[in-house]
């Protein structure tokens, strides 16, 4: 006799479960658990906006208060997804406006958001509190003004690396004088100057303001004035530091920072002159997060700053830090969990990039808590990778970008197979991996065999044949997102592992050898996959065996989408009809 848990009790238990993965598991137990769970889920996450319809989401989760949506594939960040591909927020906003009027939080990533959309948000959700747009585009500062002026309880407004049509700094003045609820404001990606007096007043009347990220147009004077009014900040993104060096300016800045006793996170620092860095020394001991990736500061100055940051957990920096600087980080920043080293030169032929594999080895040896790495350098060695894997088996995210495509181990001239084997084998909790350098199919055999927890894998310019893809699709059990560019394989591996694709969120392949015929076949056999061929030239004009430029395959319960542009071919499921565009307008 089965005892059923009373739904009230279940509800109470569920109120302690926040993780959506856990809630998804709860939903699978039985129908009544599914029902109870869905009625209590407040934070909804949709990793691919085309995997499910907005209506279905609204219907399933009537208590939804927070929605997070992702649109374009990750490689859109590197201009590999043509403009107009899709990822429109409007249909979602429309649907939520009608069915979930109590929505309070919207977080969008890589989506196209229009001013209309923003105005709709402002008008439809009475208790709207949080808007975070990451890598979004399609709107102007007018849309932001609409949010600022209408959302009375707005707490969070963050524009992270968005492409915004900047019509001027007026938007800031649209926050009504009565608005005092702001907790976080990030306008670092906007270009125009805002009126500093507007900003001062806004900051003065927002006692709960904890996070403020200014844009480069805010001067040092402006920064000083803001800091005086908001010494309670825990997160600060400065404006531009480029100013003529004046002793009084330095003293004022220093004093302003020393009053910010709760500052934990610092970013911005565009154009920072090294002479101004000592003004930051007073906050260094308390910093847990430091983003110097836009600061063209060089070595001795960097170390002077970093050696004071003993609590640092997250460091983003340019390769100007050099191996020497990383050695210093390894000895001073013992709490480091995340390191990102970005290139300082867009021109890749400047191959004397000052960091080598040695820098990362130092940090791996010295920082016991290191679990997340993003590292750009010119070349690497197997020995270094093996050392890193041995020293840091607790790595969760390892993204190595060897900038020279096909660069072998520069000491032995071998492929980097052995090195990545060590990483896959040694770092058992690895969830995200990006590989680079010269890699043969063997490397992927090792990754397939050992990287059992990897969920996201990024590959470029690697492998020898179809085997590479086959190893990955048949081996990596937890694989959810796979993105590949410029690798020499295609149809066979894809078709043999078609079932795997339904267990994944998405697969992106560009400049590989996948043929149109294979895409058609895959699409016909797998009704719950959307197979999108993104190609400038209509596939009809070429033989079916010729490769297509890009494919994007994702699982979906929403069926083929209706908003495809002319260069996206979603294959019709009916083979008699053949290939036809499904965007019926």
């Amino acid at each position: 006799m089965a005892l059923r848990l009373p739904s009230k009790v279940l509800k109470h238990i569920l109120s302690f479960i926040d993780s959506n993965e856990d809630r998804n598991s709860v939903s699978l137990v039985c129908k009544s658990w599914f029902e109870t769970e869905r009625k209590t889920r407040k934070r909804v996450f949709v990793g691919n906006c085309y995997a499910v319809t907005p209506a279905a989401v609204a219907r399933r989760f009537p208590a939804m208060r927070s929605l997070t949506l992702k649109g374009k594939p990750h490689f859109a960040d590197y201009n590999l997804v043509p403009d107009g591909w899709g990822g429109y927020a409007c249909p979602w906003i429309e649907s939520m406006a009608a069915k979930s009027p109590y929505l309070e939080e919207i977080r969008l990533k890589r989506m196209v958001v229009t001013d209309d959309c923003l105005e709709r948000i402002a008008a439809s959700f009475k208790n709207f509190k949080v808007l975070v747009l990451t890598s979004c585009e399609g709107f102007s500062t007018d849309g932001i003004a609409a949010i600022a002026s209408t959302c009375r309880n707005l707490r969070v407004l963050e524009l992270r690396e968005c492409i915004v049509e900047d019509l001027g700094g007026d938007w800031l003045s649209y926050f009504p004088e009565t608005s005092t609820s702001l907790v976080s404001l990030d306008f670092s990606c906007l270009d125009s100057e805002v009126k500093i007096s507007d900003l001062e007043r806004l900051v003065s009347r927002s006692p709960n303001l904890k996070s403020l990220k200014l844009n480069p147009a805010v001067t040092l004077d402006g920064l000083v004035s803001i800091l005086r009014r908001a010494p309670q900040l825990t997160e600060l993104g400065t404006g531009s530091f480029a100013a003529e060096l004046k002793p009084e300016a330095f003293t004022k800045l220093s004093k302003a920072f020393s009053n910010c006793k709760q500052l934990q996170s610092l970013s911005g620092l565009w154009d920072v002159l090294p002479e101004y860095l000592p003004a930051l020394y007073s906050v260094c001991p308390g910093l847990t997060s430091l983003n110097l990736s836009y600061a063209t500061v060089r070595m001795p100055d960097l170390v002077e700053l970093l050696r004071r940051c003993s609590k640092l957990q997250k460091l983003w920096v340019m390769d100007l830090i050099e191996d020497k600087g990383l050695e210093a980080v390894a000895s001073y920043c013992k709490e480091l969990r995340e390191l990102r080293v970005f290139p300082s030169e867009p021109d890749l032929d400047a191959t004397n990039i000052p960091v080598t594999e040695q820098g990362l080895v130092y940090v791996s040896k010295g920082c016991r808590k290191l679990e997340s790495v993003l590292y750009f350098c010119v070349q690497f060695t197997n020995a270094a990778l093996i050392t890193i894997a041995r020293k840091r088996p607790n790595l969760k995210c390892f993204r190595l970008c060897v900038i020279e495509p096909f660069a072998p181990d520069y000491k032995t001239n071998e492929p980097l197979d052995k090195g990545f084997k060590a990483i896959a084998e040694g770092c058992k909790d690895l969830r995200r991996l990006s590989v680079s350098g010269l890699l043969s199919d063997k490397a992927f055999k090792y990754i397939g065999k050992h990287a059992k927890k990897v969920r996201m894998l990024s590959i470029a310019f690697a492998g020898d044949s179809d085997l590479m893809l086959h190893h990955l699709l048949s081996g990596c059990e937890s694989l959810k997102k796979l993105e590949i560019r410029d690798c020499p394989f295609g149809d066979t591996a894809l078709l043999e592992n078609a079932a795997k694709l339904e267990t994944m969120r998405s697969l992106w392949m560009s400049s590989c050898f996948v043929s149109f015929g294979a895409c058609k076949l895959l699409s016909q056999k797998m009704p719950r996959l959307n197979v999108e061929v993104i190609d400038e030239h209509p596939p009809k004009t070429r033989p079916e065996s010729s490769p297509v430029e890009r494919i994007y395959i994702y699982r979906t319960v929403a069926g083929p989408r209706m908003d495809t542009p002319e260069f996206v071919w979603t294959l019709h499921k009916n083979p008699e009809i053949g290939v036809s565009k499904l965007a019926i307008k």
């Binding site: 970005f342 191959t351 900038i403 430029e549």
Partner: protein, 248 residues
């Protein structure tokens, strides 16, 4: 399950039309053009041969690029290296501001010390701070950078430059690739001489002044053909002329 698609006669016979942006010799087309930056001319799948600067693969290539069109750089491939567009724009802006400033300063006699580009000597509170400075060589399209801070003498510097431009060491690129005999950049005996531009915009032969004085006045370096170096301040100058050329 799914039957394998018949591949036909083999992929090597296929005309692979892949839309990679392979503009010959021009700079990265990363910013969006109409229709998005991802569309480009059709080309073949990029292989290691397209990146001839990579050490081991070079051996497999037919002999070098000296004198021919510059090797395709990886910056001409769309979306590589994988840097987000915001960051890329910021880097490109830095680069543009720097070269604009350098152009400006090259034309001026007097240099304003307050806003030096990062790879030029800066004077702050009497202390000199050095960074990387640019080095160009006649006949080589791609410039390099060298950190004067890391060198202690002219011989040191000359050695680094010779390694950079004339030899292929593991991990570095010999851009001309063909020279094997040692080059004497400093003694005037070879085909090339080492010259520098000082803060006043004059081009001088390297080696005349004491090292410490040199590094405070150098703005950039050039490996010039000896035949072209005739107009430069001669090696053996009158003392008073030398004083005139020193920084004020």
């Amino acid at each position: 399950m799914i039957t394998e698609l018949e591949m036909g006669k083999g992929e090597s016979e296929l005309e692979l039309g892949l839309g990679l942006s392979l503009g010959g010799g021009t700079a990265a087309k990363i910013a969006g053009k109409s229709g998005g930056g991802a569309w480009g001319e059709r080309g073949r799948l990029l292989t290691a041969k397209d990146f001839p600067s990579v050490g081991s693969k070079r051996a497999a290539d037919s002999p070098s690029h000296a004198g021919s069109s510059p090797p395709r750089s990886s910056s001409q491939v769309v979306g590589w290296p994988p840097i987000g567009s915001h960051r890329m724009n910021s880097l490109v802006n830095n680069q543009a501001t720097k070269s604009a400033r350098e152009e400006e300063e090259a034309g001026k006699k007097k240099v304003n010390d307050d806003h030096q580009p990062k790879d030029v000597t800066k004077k702050v509170n009497g202390k000199v701070q050095l960074g990387f400075i640019k080095v160009n060589m006649d006949g080589v399209a791609i410039g390099r950078k060298v950190d004067l801070n890391a060198h202690s003498s002219y011989e040191n510097l000359a050695q680094t430059l010779e390694d950079m431009f004339f030899r292929t060491n593991p991990g570095t690129i010999g851009l001309t690739g063909q020279f094997t005999k040692p080059l004497r950049l400093l003694d005037g005996s070879s085909e090339f001489v080492l010259t520098y531009e000082d803060k006043e915009g004059d081009w001088m032969l390297v080696g005349d002044v004491p090292w410490r004085m040199f590094i405070t006045s150098v703005k950039r370096l050039r490996v010039m053909k000896t035949s072209e170096a005739n107009g430069l301040a001669a090696r053996h100058q009158e003392p008073k002329e030398r004083q005139r050329n020193q920084p004020a």
